[in-house]
Symmetry: C2
Subunit: 341 residues, 2 copies
DNA sequence: TTTTTAATCGAAAACGTTTTCGTAAAATCG
DNA sequence: CGATTTTACGAAAACGTTTTCGATTAAAAA
C-alpha cells in the first residue's frame, strides 16, 4: 500500500517517467491525449507528488519559519493568524516556534529552522535579545528574513512595525488634552525597542507640552503572563507614592486593565480621579468598566504585511535578485473610550 | 557560496562520501581518527545535513501538522504552546493550520498536510464538521492522527479530552449546592461534542437533584469572537424572559464574563441575585469583579498529552506496529471564586 | 609461513522528482 | 518528392543522503 509514484503511472501506461512528469505539469511537448490519460491514471492511483523529492530537486520547501516570543498572547496570536492566512494564499506553510522571551532559545530555534531549510523566516525578537549576530548570520546565509513588531534597528533586513514613539506621543497628548497635569507611565521591559520607543514618545509629549518629566513617575513592568497583576501592583504603588498623578499612559492593555481593576477596588474613579490610556486595543478593553481608551495596534494586518514582504523576498531570492530591505510602517489609531475624559 | 555537502567534506579529506556519512553518525566501522577529522572539517565547512535529502531517504520529515479551529483563542493557544513545547523536546517541528470552524477548510488543510507528508497530525475539529470521511481516510492512509478537545467519537483514533459531561455536572451541582433553585444554561453550538456533553451534564445534574429541566432556560451561542457580546445579549434576554432564574452554568468563560458585565451594569447582584459558573478558567476570570467560579480546563497539558500520544504512534508506525487508539481523559477541577455563594 | 579475524573503507543503488538534451516520426513547405 | 520544421516522447543526470554489501589491509592466531 505504498503511495503511488510517477513510475507507477508510467508503468501502467507504458510510457516514460519523464512524459508523466511533464504531462502533470502541462508541458506543451506532450500531446493532449497522453496528458489526459496521465491525469486520469493519476487520480485512479491516488497519486500525490512526493514532497520530499520535490523539495530536494527544487531546493525549496514552500515552508517558512516563524519565531515569536510567546504564543499565548492576544496580539501575537493575531499576528500568527495574519501570517498563516496570507501564507496559505501563496501556498506556503508555517512552522511556528517560540522563544519564551529568551535569547538563548531564540538562537536555538533559529538554528532549527535553518537546519530544516525553510525558505524564509519571520521573527519577532525576545525581550532578552541584545546581540544580533545570529540574525546577521541568517542574512549572510541568504535566507530571507523579515522582522516584525519587536525588531532590531541594527539588523539590515525588512521590518514591519508601527511607530511606537508616535503612538505613545498621541496617547500621552490625549491625556494632556483632556486635562491631565501630571502623567505617569507604566513602561515595558528595558531592552525591546518598542517599549523604549513608547517611553520616549511619552517623555517627548510631556516636554512638548511644558510638563516636567519626572523619572519617579515611570514604573517598569515585565509585561509577561503576570501583566494583569503587575497592573494592580503598580497602581497600588503609584497611589502610595504619588497622590497627585491624574493620568497614566500604560504600555499594554492588560497591565492597564489590571490597574483599572485596582483603582475600581480602591474607589479611585477612572477617569475622574485618574485617566488611563492603554496600548494594543485588546478586545477586553471595550469590555471592562470603564472601557479603556487605547492605541489600536493592528496585529492581524502586521502578520499579513510581514508575510507579503517575505514573499517578495522569497521570489527575489529565487531569481537571484538582490533584496532591498524595506521598512513598512503600519498606521495606529487612538481609540477613545471611557477611561479618559 | 552553496551550503557544504558530504561530498565537499569527502573531497577535502580525500575519502569517500560513505565514510563521511558514517563518521558523522558515529558508525563503529570508521576509525576514531577519521571520525574526528570528519567532524572537524564538518564544522570548518559549516556543514548542515540537507534536510530535503534526509527526508527523501528516510521517508520522514520530523514534522507534524496541527489543525485548530481558531488560533486567536486563549484555550487553543495554550494547547498550541503545550504541543510545540513537547514536540521540540522530541525534535519535531509543528506546522499550524486553522480551519476557521469550517468543515470545507478543515478538509482542505488536511489535504495540504498530507501532501506535505507530515509524519503525523493533531486536530481539533471545526464546529461545522459532522462528516468524518476525511478523517477516516487519513487513518487508512496510515498517517498517525490524534484528536483533542473537539473530537468525533465515531473516528477510530486516539483522543485527548476532558470529561465535559462530568465537569458540567459538577459545575451545575455546585450551583445547586449553593442554593440555586432555577438554573439556566448558556450552551455552545449544536454540533461539537463538547458543547453537547456540557449540556447533558447540566441536564443530568438538574434531574438528579429533582429539579425540572426547562428547555426555555437553555440559550445557545456561537462562542466565536463575539462571545463576550453574546454573554451580554443572552444575559439581557434571560432577565427579560425569566425573572426567577438564580443561577447559570455558562459554556465558556468569555460568555460568562460578558454576562457578568451585563448584570453588573443592570444592577443585578452576582452572586446574590444570580450565581454564575463558567468553563475553561481563562485568566481574566480571576480578574473580573466578581471573580468567576469556573471549571479549569488544562489547555497546556492537553497539548502536551496530545503530542505525547502522537509521538508514541509515530514510533509504532515507523516500526510497522499496529496502533491501538487510546482515549486519554484529563482531570478538570472546579475553581470556586466569587460569582457563586 | 599460512590462515583467520578484525578493522577500515568505498562502490553503488536507492529515495522520487525535474529538466536538459537528443531523437524519431509526422506534418509542412517549396 | 526532398528538405525542413513541428510534434511527441524518452534517456539520463542531478539533487544529497543512507545503507548494504564487498573489498582491502593489517593484526592475530595457527
Amino acid at each position: 500500500m505504498k503511495p503511488a509514484t510517477l513510475k507507477d503511472i508510467a508503468e501502467t501506461l507504458n510510457i516514460s517517467i519523464t512524459t508523466v512528469s511533464k504531462a502533470l505539469k502541462d508541458y506543451p511537448d506532450v500531446s493532449k491525449k497522453t496528458r489526459k490519460l496521465v491525469r486520469e491514471t493519476a487520480v485512479t492511483l491516488n497519486y500525490k507528488p512526493n514532497a520530499f523529492a520535490v523539495n530536494l530537486r527544487t531546493k525549496e520547501s514552500k515552508t517558512i519559519g516563524l519565531i515569536i516570543p510567546e504564543i499565548v498572547h492576544h496580539f501575537f496570536s493575531s499576528v500568527i493568524k495574519g501570517i498563516i492566512s496570507q501564507a496559505e494564499k501563496k501556498g506556503y506553510l508555517v512552522i511556528i516556534l517560540q522563544s519564551n522571551e529568551s535569547y538563548e532559545l531564540e538562537k536555538k530555534q533559529l538554528d532549527l529552522l535553518l537546519n530544516k531549510r525553510v525558505d524564509g523566516i519571520l521573527i519577532s525578537l525576545a525581550n532578552g535579545t541584545s546581540d544580533f549576530k545570529h540574525l546577521n548570520d541568517i542574512i549572510e546565509n541568504g535566507t530571507p528574513l523579515v522582522m516584525f513588531d519587536k525588531i532590531a534597528k541594527l539588523v539590515n533586513c525588512s521590518k514591519v512595525v508601527i511607530d511606537d514613539r508616535k503612538a505613545a506621543y498621541i496617547a500621552t497628548q490625549h491625556l494632556i488634552d483632556t486635562g491631565c497635569k501630571r502623567v505617569a507611565h507604566f513602561r515595558g521591559p528595558l531592552l525591546p525597542q518598542n517599549s523604549i520607543d513608547r517611553f520616549l514618545g511619552y517623555k517627548k509629549a510631556l516636554l512638548d507640552n511644558g510638563l516636567e518629566y519626572d523619572p519617579s513617575l515611570v514604573y517598569t513592568c515585565a509585561c509577561d503572563d503576570m501583566s494583569f497583576n503587575e497592573g494592580k501592583v503598580n497602581a497600588a504603588k503609584l497611589l502610595a507614592e504619588h497622590k497627585d498623578v491624574d493620568g497614566i499612559f500604560i504600555n499594554t492593555d492588560m497591565v492597564a486593565i489590571g490597574a483599572i481593576t485596582e483603582f475600581n477596588k480602591r474607589g479611585v474613579k477612572v477617569p475622574d480621579d485618574i485617566s488611563i490610556v492603554g496600548f494594543s486595543n485588546w478586545f477586553m478593553s471595550s469590555a471592562i468598566t470603564p472601557s479603556l481608551t487605547t492605541i489600536d495596534q493592528p496585529g492581524f494586518k502586521m502578520g499579513k504585511m510581514a508575510f507579503k514582504q517575505l514573499y517578495k523576498e522569497l521570489k527575489a531570492n529565487k531569481n537571484n535578485k538582490v533584496i532591498h530591505p524595506k521598512i513598512i510602517e503600519l498606521e495606529t489609531s487612538l481609540v477613545k473610550r471611557n477611561s479618559t475624559k
